[in-house]
Symmetry: C2
Amino acid sequence: MTKVFLDEPDIPTHWYNLVADLPTPPAPHLHPGTKQPLVPEDMTAIFPMGLIEQEASSERWIRIPDEVQEIYRLWRPSPLHRARRLEQALGTTARIYYKYEGESPVGSHKTNSSVPQAYYNKLAGKTRLTTETGAGQWGAALAFATQVFGMSCDVFQVRNTYDAKPYRRMLMQTYGATVTPSPSDTTEAGRRLQERFPGTTGSLGMAISEAIELAVQDPNASYALGSVLNHVCLHQTVIGQETLKQLVVFGEDLPDYLFACAGGGSNLAGLSFPFIRENLEGRGHVDIVACEPAAAPSLTQGEFRYDFGDSSGMTPLLKMYTLGNDFVPDPVHAGGLRYHGMSPLVSHCYHEGLLRAIAVKQRDAFAAGILFARAEGIVPASESCHAIAGAVAQARRATEAGESPVILIGVSGSGQLDLPAYAEYLTGDMLDA
Amino acid sequence: MTKVFLDEPDIPTHWYNLVADLPTPPAPHLHPGTKQPLVPEDMTAIFPMGLIEQEASSERWIRIPDEVQEIYRLWRPSPLHRARRLEQALGTTARIYYKYEGESPVGSHKTNSSVPQAYYNKLAGKTRLTTETGAGQWGAALAFATQVFGMSCDVFQVRNTYDAKPYRRMLMQTYGATVTPSPSDTTEAGRRLQERFPGTTGSLGMAISEAIELAVQDPNASYALGSVLNHVCLHQTVIGQETLKQLVVFGEDLPDYLFACAGGGSNLAGLSFPFIRENLEGRGHVDIVACEPAAAPSLTQGEFRYDFGDSSGMTPLLKMYTLGNDFVPDPVHAGGLRYHGMSPLVSHCYHEGLLRAIAVKQRDAFAAGILFARAEGIVPASESCHAIAGAVAQARRATEAGESPVILIGVSGSGQLDLPAYAEYLTGDMLDA
């Protein structure tokens, strides 16, 4: 047996909210003006109440609306694979499993949150969502979700990526979204940024400013964020919940190690939070390892303090590990990990010792990604390669020590649209960052 | 319920050979020199005996080796989806299902045959496979399969595609294959072709010549073909066998219509042959519709006669519907359908009235593909869009007539690497061919 799906009725009916089980409460988000804890009214200009409530909720289980469950079924439950061929290639004594989110319509875990975000906005009467995207995974996920609910979608994509990596832009357009390279002439923020930084190729921070401006100006529009915030982490917990059940089908107890890549943190949160609960309740000793890029090492080298989520200081203040909101990472390929901060919930867990972190250089990540692709057939997303690199190193250490741990890897997406990065690695031209 | 997988032990254990059930035997392949029916010895220079036997077999069920089944489990069983959102978008009275092969490691059905082909060659002691590829689906599938069995792989890719659509080349290289633009300087055939056609951007026929030359010269190498031949159609029958079982899980009898795209014919064969058996045994009246591109309409406009499988006349003579082996299709995006001929088995079925065919223009195909992507979330391969166009037209006719047929679509692959074609359609620049 190498792959386990669950029966369709077994997809999760609730999201799991780790806040209910945390030994100490996470610090609240603060209003950027008053520096006081945010109240729901502070967020109604850009978020619908359904998501605002989730952002502040301490309920353990939050029911997934039937309409969202129905769409989840297009790709959920996602498969858990035993990586037998990778084990053979490594000659390891470890047993390796991977949870694969790349079979979603857009090829990544992002649809787990874009669908409920579109749903709650639709419920609130919104007809349009705005967002920013870098490499395009989140933009594509939101373009898909808005299409499903008959809403329109405006995506501001960092200009550099818009021009250089056009496939995900085409994917967003295929789903019917309007994609604008950022900074653009269509918003005041975009025009100001172009004056201030002539010839700039853009950044996520600039694109966020444009997307928020558009949402605030249009009463029918909301803004949507693809990671970092509590409600996004919440939505992703379907990943870990399914994995817990699937490991049982394989006859395994809890894993000894869990490796997941971490940029904004929602993918790591989604896989690991249900396992952190197992640890907290004394059922397991899962060593949870956040794998961040050496080019944006917020957990391993950042400070734990309040900071803005965007570059221009428009968002609430979030208590998180941060490299400073003016930090600009090297242009590594894992666009989804190039973020100055880290989800406040993941940051809190790290600070409390509920998970640990390692920083992975991109050449090491792609070396592991190619090993994985040649063994398992699946080409992992650039981001996922970081988790695989962490797991492969752990498997090698276990083999040297004569141990047989169970290692679980979160493979957050497919690398089919990241192939130019693989080509760059193979020709030896990849930046050693 | 919108998606059905089978339990893993339910993947097929045998390939289904339609030849055993055909009312009249198909015409044999002929030796290009003697014009006599091929004998196994004629093919041993380029194919291993395991595949030669399958090519000529009239056994109904041929056991799938355990080693092949094990690799099939990486992506099989593939899902059968009820296309509820597409039905809603069409406002149709029809019930529409689609079998999706795009979750295979390379994103298409081609791995169903590349894996057994690599296996039988490995068994025969071969260490290297050579092949040609156009858009790259088959090349990527063989690169994956040879990697799994520790063999090397040489792919000659039509130069035009090698340069213009680099993603699948990068995918082949990620799997470790050597990819050479064809015509090349590395073979005598390639050098001669370049002399004869200075500045040519290549063709599948030229690439086949180079791949066969390389295989014939190296006793450790074989040549592998990705469609057309009987053994390739045989391997693909796992698709239709699974679908028969999955329809039962949905509570359906046999479908009223089956639409699948047809280029060389192996995808159509794989889905439809098990259903042709149901028809022949009196259990169903499935209307099987081959959807070919208007740019290469071998069934609807070709002649049923012996012709070469390649442009330069190196292959055996095959009795098939053909547009002539010097036919050059318009440069439509569905590279996998740009073939002058049609599988002899599919041709035989068409000639005997066991299936029918329609020709679809590529703009109509992509219009249907975008409708499908926006409804179902999955972006279909350029080739698969042709089947969807046929099915959508049928659903519209059924709605007008107040009928509620069950329509089954074969979606042979993912269009994630075909996104430039979608972009071209959306900007209105697509060739009306």
